[in-house]
């Protein structure tokens, strides 16, 4: 396979020197869903030295419409995504050191995983984990690339500690969630568009072409034909608790992390978001009904019947997931529906 990177080294901004740099780098990717499949495949084909893939989920039929590494057989086998991804990626490029980590990317776990890493790719599906990645990135001075999408709408931002504003400068706090892929749907072209932006930035960072790194926040809608690029240099906040003069890394703090507790003997997990929310029950209820769930409610709570679980959501964001004792499963269900 001598020739395998020839079209990439021919690209003047990479060249043979750039290829050597790519081969020497370690990328940590959090998430192996839609964005993770796409980014993982591009980095592997590009010949990165090591790729660590972290995911807590397994492959389901509803993933196949947009998650490019997985096949029908992976669904039949109910393979964990990180494992299924690693197996396909090794067939694609046996030269890349692929490590699959099947776990929930908690702040503690991130602290362990980040050692020796040159770049973090965000392929998560919720802001809680993203904000933890943002803090870890600042604490250890490792660049990361935010990417997200829902429906036909996607966005990306490259964060270089010491050079650019961080995600906390721009969002200020974790947004109250409107839509997730499980409530607003998602089409594969949106995913590919985000992946294209994230992986281009990844290659610039891996070859250390800092001049070329995108310094604006891009967002686009592939169905509504919108594309915009927002300069963010002004957003840099010297008082930011993640990247300012006196950082406290709030999203690594146990206080600010989603709490999940098994309610003993009740086969139920309680989830409490880090900050009180004001959920809009009418909108949420419609979205969940559109998804085919049976939803009942009153002004104080919504009850959602799922296959094997029942979810009860209070309007401050707290929820009970009945029918499970598994904290990770309960958190997954919660974040899928509420972001």
């Amino acid at each position: 396979m001598d020739d395998r990177y020839s079209r990439q080294t021919l690209f003047p901004s990479i060249g043979k020197e750039g290829q050597k740099k790519i081969r020497s780098k370690h990328v940590l990717m959090i998430g192996a869903g839609a964005l993770g499949s796409g980014n993982g495949e591009l980095l592997t084909r590009a010949g990165v030295g090591k790729l660590t893939i972290v995911d807590r989920d397994y492959v389901e039929a509803s993933n196949l419409q947009r998650q490019q590494l997985y096949t029908e057989q992976d669904v039949v086998d109910k393979l964990p995504k990180a494992a299924a991804a690693a197996s396909r990626l090794k067939e694609i490029n046996s030269e890349v050191n692929i490590e699959a980590v099947i776990t929930d990317a908690t702040p503690e776990k991130l602290e362990e995983l980040v050692k020796g890493v040159d770049l973090i790719i965000d392929a998560t599906d919720n802001f809680e984990t993203r904000m933890a990645i943002n803090d870890i990135s600042q604490k250890h001075q490792i660049p990361w690339i935010y990417g997200a999408c829902v429906g036909s709408f996607g966005m990306s931002l490259t964060i270089i500690p010491g050079k650019t504003p961080c995600l906390n400068c721009i969002l200020k706090k974790i947004p109250i969630q409107g839509m997730t892929c499980d409530t607003g749907g998602i089409i594969a072209p949106t995913v590919q568009m985000v992946v294209a932006h994230q992986s281009a930035e990844a290659m610039k960072i891996l070859v250390e072409d800092w001049e070329a790194v995108r310094t604006s926040f891009v967002s686009f809608d592939v169905w509504r034909n919108q594309y915009t690029s927002m300069k963010v240099v002004k957003a840099k906040d010297e008082n930011c608790l993640s990247c300012g003069q006196n950082p406290t890394y709030p999203y690594l703090d146990h206080e600010n992390i989603m709490k999940s507790t098994v309610l003993c003997g009740r086969d139920t997990v309680q989830i409490r978001p880090p900050k009180q929310q004001k959920l809009q029950f009418t909108v949420l209820s419609q979205q969940l009904k559109a998804l085919g769930y049976e939803v009942k409610g009153n002004p104080y709570l919504l009850s959602v019947e799922m296959n094997e679980q029942r979810l009860v959501i209070f309007n401050d964001g707290r929820a009970l997931i009945h029918g499970t004792n598994d904290l990770t499963q309960a958190k997954t269900i919660y974040q899928r529906l509420l972001g």
């Binding site: 709408f153 721009i170 809608d221 300069k231």
Partner: protein
């Protein structure tokens, strides 16, 4: 006069991608409130704002001819 741009599902709530409005001298947060009155279906909480393709904070003031865009952050992936 100013242009107000709505991205993604915000466009659907408004019914148009761009509207023209005289919001001269108003701050971003004031424009958000104005929009919420005008379009009850529009939710601009936590929505990012850009003035002339630059990040804008709640207190930034619009000048004549400026374009303000509203971009909702999303979390899917």
């Amino acid at each position: 006069m100013n242009k107000v741009l709505f991205f993604a599902h915000l466009k659907d709530a408004v019914g148009e991608e761009v509207i023209e409005l005289d919001t001269n001298g108003k701050s971003v947060v004031e424009i958000k409130e104005l929009m919420k009155e005008k379009y009850p279906a529009l939710n601009l909480e936590n929505v990012m704002a850009a003035i002339n393709e630059e990040f804008a904070s709640d207190e930034d003031i619009l000048q004549a001819g400026d374009t303000i865009a509203f971009i909702p952050p999303v979390s899917g992936g």
